[in-house]
Each structure stands twice: as structure tokens, then as C-alpha cells.
Symmetry: C2
Subunit: 297 residues, 2 copies
């Protein structure tokens, strides 16, 4: 075990990410004030900033500069926040709390929540196009394509469609994995890949990061499902039991709590194996993988 | 007057655009089938394809190849369609018909309409990143930034916020112009600028196209407002009188029908003036400007 301090590392990085999000997002004083207020309400509400952290850690892992990819990292958080706002809408999951505060539509009404999501969706792409720099602009275009696909009809949006479609229906482990691969996995993978691509990753490094991302994505989702059953509302920032309420397919429902926890640990081990080609610069990625299963299992 | 045949030109181009949209959009046979079906339902329903036509015409005007900018042209139509789907939602304008058929939420339900809009929004950026090519990739990134800004909080989304905010409230001509500049003007301008930038436009050419775009945008909006009062439902593809129903600020309400029609003609003349630096390659842009005020005034 290394003496790498994930808490310290994360605290420093989250501050940098917070400052970046603040800088790349229009001020709430500038018109249209209600829209910018709603955008900032959800975006600056905290959250674990996992996607930008992974993006910056992947940049480091391939020997790059984490701060250089800050615009891309912030774009990932904007895209994630947009998807949360829309997923919470009454027509979708109809959730009232998120990140410890009322959801966007509860706070600002449905129309403004839809528009705040849309504007954050666009802002993500604008942030990359306006602020991301590399030696080779082709890398930005390639990263943008991966980023866009993660969000689209075969990524997050597609995952949400399947998620709603299977509510109350029996699902196989394959379907569950497919839903999560789209809904969460695609953007986690894009976080790692874009950070690496913008820092001149080799094809082998990209491939290893994709493997790491897939395993970490599975581990992350299983732990999320478990915490929805066993966790503490205040700590998680949203009501637990929401999957049960919405009759969603989850790992604990399909495999039981104990087997689910074991599967999460196995996925973490596989994620760590995938990092064997990297040197000490990948220490943050290793620590993230361990942290996921240790947070409350 | 030239003997340029706008009808023939448009018919040919609309076919190319239609084929491009079909090619860049996932097939309705591929999963998630319900989402791809909903995306195609709105995207392939026709419409005038004004934004892609303007993009391709701007490429030509600066001496470029119209077909080279087809991915960008199709992305503009995807972005426009996304905005229509979301603007039609019950929480927004609550419209039942669009392009002659039931709106997306009427056909597929609200959740699917939100997601189909989101997925088309993303697909627009993915289409540019995956398919647009130029000699200089910096041009693609610059075009993408302009494209994103046109859609965001100070573009279409912002315009929709202001539009809803001023429903039933008195507006000045300045506010009305500002709403339209965001809601319609920004994307029309982006259509022209992106097409030109991708074909090596000079700074002077860009500036003239922006002037043209602003004037054409105003003319277009005035005519749209007039047609909502005087037009024929079947011809327009959506119920007329919708602005009145929603108590929206419009040119006819503020200035009367006659003065509005004169303002549209003046804006068209200014648009034509802005094209004086261009040679015969700008003939399609000139014909568009004339067509707007001639369609039913």
C-alpha cells in the first residue's frame, strides 16, 4: 500500500474543479438571471465531482498535467448535472431531493428545470470548445466525440430510456449490466478517456483505462444500489429507498446484499489489475478504485 | 433580378440534407428502439430546413463547397428540432401539433419527448465531432463554440426563458427584439457563420454574413408572427393563433399588421445590402432573403 492521501488529494482537486465550474459558468447576475440562477443552483450544490476527478487523474496517469484538462473535467460535471436535473423531473424519476437540497423543478418549476438542464448540456460543449487547449486540436475533436457519445442515445439518454422501460419488469443480470453501462458507465469511461487523450495517451494506455473504467463503473453502481438500501439519507443527500419505491432493477434485488458486496470487491480488483501498466502517476486512480468499495461496505 | 431558381435549388438541397440526417441518425431498428423512433419522428418530419440551407448557402457564398459542410448543416437541424420538442412540452408552450403531426410528447409521452430532445441535442455535437472535416481542425472547434453559444443560456435557451417570462406582460420593442435575437436569431446567425468559417471565410465576409443574418432573423420572425395571425393551419403545419392563446409578445400586437409587414420588407432590404461584397455565389442567400417576405405577405 502506498501512503497516498486520497482525502487530501480530493479536497485540493475539488477546490480547483469548483473554481473552474464557477469561472466557466455565467454569473447569476447576468441575464437571463433566473436561468443562470437555476443552472448554478444545481451545478454548485456540491456532489462528489467523481467525473472531473477521474478525468484529471487519467491525465496524470498518462504523464500529463491535470490542470490542463480542467475545461474538459468541468464539462463532464456540467453534463452529469444536466442529466441529474432531467432524470429527477416529474415525468421521469420524480425525485424531490438531490445533493441534499430540493431538486431543480421543486425549486424553480418544471419549465425552468428543463431549460437549466438544456443550458448546462450546451455549456458543457461550449466550455470544451472555448477553453480546452492542447498541442494538437484533433485531440479535442476526438475527445468531444467520445464525450458526446457518452451522453447520447446509446449512452446516458439510452440508459435512462431502458431504466424506465424495465421499471416493474423482471430483468436479467445482462440487462442490468447493459443499463448501467449506458447510464453511468459511458460517462465514467468518457471521463477517463478524454483526460488521457488530451494528454497524448498511447493506444495501450487508452485500452487499459477503458478496462479500469468498466470495472470501476460496475463497482460504483453496485455500491450505489447497496447504499440505496442500507445507507443514511443525510449522508447520501437524497432519500434512500428510491429504487424500491420506483421498482427499479438493482444488484441487491437480483443477487442479495452479500453477493452484491462481493461482486463490487471483485470488480475493484479487476479495475486495479487493469492499471498494472501504469507507474506511480496512477496512484490516484488506484486509490479511487479502493475508495469506492470502502465507502460504506 | 437574376434567373436563379430558388425552388429547384431548395428541392435539391433539402434532399441532400434529408439524406444526411438519415445517415447521421441511428436507425430506428437499433436499440434503444423507442428513443431512436422518437428522435427520427421529429427530425424526419420535414420542416423547411432553413438552418441547414443557410449554412450550405453561406459556405457557397464564400467560395466553398456546400456539401463539405453537410455534417454541420445537419447538426443545426438536429439542434433546432431538439429545441422545438422541448419548447412544445406541457411545462413550456404546451403545443399539440408541429410540422403537421402530433408533437413528440403527444405521440410518445413526456419522458420520451424530453429524452428524444436531449439525445438530438447531443447527436448534433457528435455529428460535428465525428463527421465534419476541414483542412484546419481549429475551424471545427471555433464553429463548435459558435454553435454551442447559439443554443445555450444566452441563445435559444435564454430566449425561451425570456419568452415565457414576458407572457402576459407588456414588452417594449427592444425586449421583443432581444427575445427574438436569442430565440431565433442566434441559431440563424450560427448557421451562416459556421458554414462560412468551415470554408475559410475572411473576417470581412464573416462580418457581412452576421449583418445579413441579423436582418434576415428579424424579417423571418416578423413574418412568422404575422402568419400566426393571418396564416392557414394546414399550410403552416401547426395551429395558428397560438401566440394569441399564450398571450405572447409579437410584432403585430406591438406595431399592427401593416407596420409589421413594412418592417419585414425593410429588414430584407438591409439583409440584401449586407451581401453587396459577395459575387454571384451569394445568389442563394439573396433569394432566401427575398423569399422570406414574399412567402405570404
Amino acid at each position: 500500500m502506498s501512503d497516498f492521501d486520497l482525502n487530501l488529494y480530493t479536497a485540493e482537486r475539488v477546490q480547483i474543479i469548483h473554481d473552474g465550474l464557477d469561472r466557466f459558468t455565467p454569473s447569476a447576475d447576468t441575464p437571463p438571471v433566473p436561468l443562470h440562477t437555476a443552472m448554478r443552483y444545481s451545478l454548485m450544490a456540491g456532489g462528489k465531482r467523481i467525473r472531473p476527478l477521474l478525468c484529471m487523474a487519467a491525465a496524470e496517469a498518462v504523464g500529463g498535467d491535470a490542470v490542463q484538462v480542467l475545461p474538459m473535467a468541468c464539462a463532464l460535471e456540467m453534463l452529469h448535472t444536466f442529466s441529474l436535473i432531467h432524470d429527477d423531473l416529474p415525468a421521469m424519476d420524480n425525485d424531490d431531493f438531490r445533493r441534499g437540497i430540493p431538486t431543480s423543478h421543486k425549486q424553480f418549476g418544471e419549465a425552468m428545470a428543463i431549460l437549466a438542464g438544456d443550458a448546462l448540456h450546451t455549456l458543457a460543449f461550449a466550455t470544451i470548445a472555448r477553453h480546452q487547449r492542447t498541442e494538437n486540436p484533433e485531440q479535442i475533436i476526438r475527445a468531444m466525440a467520445i464525450f458526446a457519445d457518452a451522453s447520447g442515445s446509446t449512452g446516458m439518454c439510452g440508459g435512462q430510456v431502458d431504466d424506465m422501460y424495465y421499471e416493474g419488469k423482471p430483468v436479467t443480470p445482462e440487462i442490468l449490466r447493459h443499463i448501467h453501462a449506458q447510464k453511468t458507465g459511458a460517462l465514467l469511461n468518457a471521463s477517463l478517456l478524454t483526460g488521457a487523450i488530451l494528454c497524448n495517451a498511447t493506444a495501450e494506455q487508452e485500452e487499459c483505462l477503458q478496462k479500469y473504467g468498466s470495472h470501476v463503473g460496475v463497482a460504483f453502481q453496485i455500491v450505489d444500489d447497496i447504499l440505496d438500501v442500507t445507507g443514511d439519507d443525510a449522508k447520501i443527500g437524497k432519500p434512500t429507498g428510491s429504487d424500491e419505491k420506483n421498482d427499479k432493477a438493482t444488484y441487491p434485488k437480483l443477487f442479495g446484499l452479500e453477493v452484491s458486496a462481493r461482486m463490487a470487491r471483485e470488480a475493484t480488483d479487476s479495475a486495479l489489475d487493469a492499471l498494472s501498466v501504469f507507474d506511480h502517476h496512477a496512484e490516484p486512480l488506484r486509490a479511487f478504485a479502493r475508495f469506492i468499495v470502502e465507502r460504506d461496505l
